[in-house]
């Protein structure tokens, strides 16, 4: 099984529009570091029992969401993903304080404490949700694309899901529909090599996921998901394809999650050797080292940035989540159905 990708020639920038400026790279470095620290702080809050339920962390996969969404039009394009959703929401523009408050189950959360970690929604920023049925978002994303095509704008639908979701029927049903109706949807497969605790070669006949899109005649590439510049360049091409009305596109990003599938997972199914190999290809370190090599950043600047992020998360984000009120029990049945819908009781004739 291919546990270490070697994609040197794929996904690299072919023209200037696929290159990131130094300013953008430094901002992305900060965003990815922020994402890492946010998720690690979630881990602590979970251990402290401030966060309940299931918690799926994104540490190790930061270059995927950041590279793709950097190439998208934030707040314009529609984005959805699975239950590993905090960082996608934040990159789409969600207030990290509201995301953390949601994890704390508070009224100040993105979903007023009704959703939780697996169901972050921020419709104002066009983050259309985190969904907890593996493969569930595939058809929803095609549906959004259908609506966008009908309305005639240039927005696109972007759907992030893991490799294991591709073994659900919805994968095949959705790619088929996306293609027959040429809908503007970009599928981003974050291939972290494991479906819960089962390694991809034990669950999946074809391990290169991009090859499966060929069954639906959808263009697809596989690139290194640990290098944000590579992801950005590949996503630029993919998004240009979709936005120009050429129909769906499938982008496979080879990546790795550092934590278990969720917090209830001891990672016993992976070898230390495999983990350490991937840790050497950390997406934050790759970008940091590149910026240091090009003399656009010093190690001490990086450390300062890290320290400031940790403090900001502690003071602003955790502080906000702690202080946000609990939802009122009197509001338990709110949001089940629309309130005062005129068509429910007649009276519109």
């Amino acid at each position: 099984m291919k546990v270490m990708p070697g994609f040197a020639q794929q996904g690299v920038a072919e023209n200037d529009s696929e290159l990131l400026s130094v300013t953008d790279k430094k901002r992305l470095l900060r965003e990815m570091l922020y994402a890492r620290r946010f998720e690690e702080r979630c881990y602590e809050a979970y251990v402290e029992r401030k966060i309940g339920g299931f918690l799926h962390l994104y540490s190790g996969e930061e270059a995927c969401a950041h590279g793709v969404l950097e190439a998208a039009r934030i707040g314009h394009d529609y984005v959805m993903t699975s239950y590993r959703d905090h960082i996608h929401a934040i990159k789409c523009g969600s207030d990290p304080r509201a995301v953390m408050a949601e994890l704390f189950g508070k009224e100040g959360g993105t979903c007023k404490g009704r959703g939780g970690s697996m169901h972050i929604f921020d419709v104002a920023h066009r983050f259309m949700g985190g969904y907890a049925l593996v493969g569930g978002p595939f058809p929803l994303a095609v549906g959004i694309a259908k609506g966008l095509k009908m309305k005639g704008g240039d927005e696109i639908s972007i759907c992030f899901l893991g490799d294991a979701a591709n073994n659900q029927g919805t994968f095949h049903e959705s790619l088929n529909m996306a293609k027959i109706w040429d809908l503007p949807v970009l599928y981003v497969c974050e291939n972290n090599l494991y479906g819960i605790g089962t390694r991809i070669d034990r669950s999946t006949a074809v391990q290169d996921q991009y090859k499966r899109a060929a069954a639906y005649d959808i263009p697809a590439v596989q690139v290194d998901g640990q290098d944000v510049e590579v992801v950005y360049a590949a996503a630029k091409k993919a998004i240009e394809h979709v936005r120009s009305g050429n129909g769906p596109y499938f982008l496979e990003l080879m990546t790795y999650r550092y934590r278990g599938h969720s917090m209830s997972d001891s990672n016993a199914y992976r070898s230390k050797d495999e983990e350490s190999k991937w840790l050497k290809r950390d997406p934050i370190h790759i970008l940091r080292n590149r910026l240091i090599d090009s003399r656009d950043l010093t190690l001490s600047e990086f450390k300062e940035m890290d320290k400031a992020i940790i403090e900001e998360i502690e003071n602003e984000v955790i502080g906000f989540a702690e202080q946000s009120p609990e939802p009122r029990v009197e509001d338990l049945e709110k949001y089940v159905l629309a309130e005062n819908d005129p068509y429910v009781h007649g009276g519109v004739n």
Binding site: Y78, P139, M150, V336, H345
Partner: protein
Amino acid sequence: MSQMMYWEALRRAHDEELGNDPLVIVMGEDIGVAGGTYKATQGLYDKYGAERVIDTPISENGYTGLGIGASFVGVKPIIEIMSVNFAWLATDQIVNTAAKVRYMSGGQLTAPIVIRSPGGTAHQLGAQHSARMEKVFMGIAGLRVVTPSNPKQAYGLLKSAVRCADPVFINEHELMYNMKGEVPDEEFFHPLEGSEVVRQGRDITLFGYNISVHWCLQAAEVLSREHGIEAEVVDLYALSPLDREGIKASVARTHKAIIAEEAEAPVGVGAEVMAIFNEECFFELDAPPVRVSAANVPIPYNHKLEKAAIPSAKDVIAAALSLFPGKH
């Protein structure tokens, strides 16, 4: 008022809603070029085009999810699932997404879709084409379930379901598409909640919905003519939420009750209505209420066995008479 068939009433509602709003779409298997298995969309493909009257692949969960996703950006999809037996495949998207998205997003996002599907036992279609699923969907918070018993309801409930902000499941019946009835000539929106007293009577209430309303009406005629029992018939066209007040009010008038359903008894519409009797009007009852339900079996192919599995007006009459000792 004009007379039209149930399918014609559905077709008219589709046509008007497609005409009213360019973001209304219809989708399902064979509903476009072929005009729909039960003709509910006949001619609409030619009138509104392939982008809005969409022949889907045979991918029930996929195209239902597609409809839900489209509804997130303002589209109003009417999804036809050719048989409710196939809707089992779409329960993931209906239950896990459509019904829950408003709640789990804290009210930010809703899925205002309509799903129409015939559920019921027709003529020897066998176990996998004869199921009734209303009991499943009516137990799901966040989903409305209505079930028209006549062309007027078929028209008016579909119209309201398209306009309503909630996901609505419309339970139809294979045997009812050719039923004739009066439908108002002017545009009409039927309420999605409530119940309707379709026959007045002082002695007993026969509760039914969809096809069982007709068994109840037939039974009421026989009970009146042959036994001098005047039955009130209540049409529970809204299965979720059920009309607790309407149920209670009728029982308070007649003090006896039968609930008739085509589905098997366990965890069903009858069970739920019985619970409402208990919770709302137990002391109004003069006799224990009775459920008339199907045998608890997969529906058999053999015609005689199939008939034996499904209740009829005769069973409603027998159940009613059991509450009047000395009348039979």
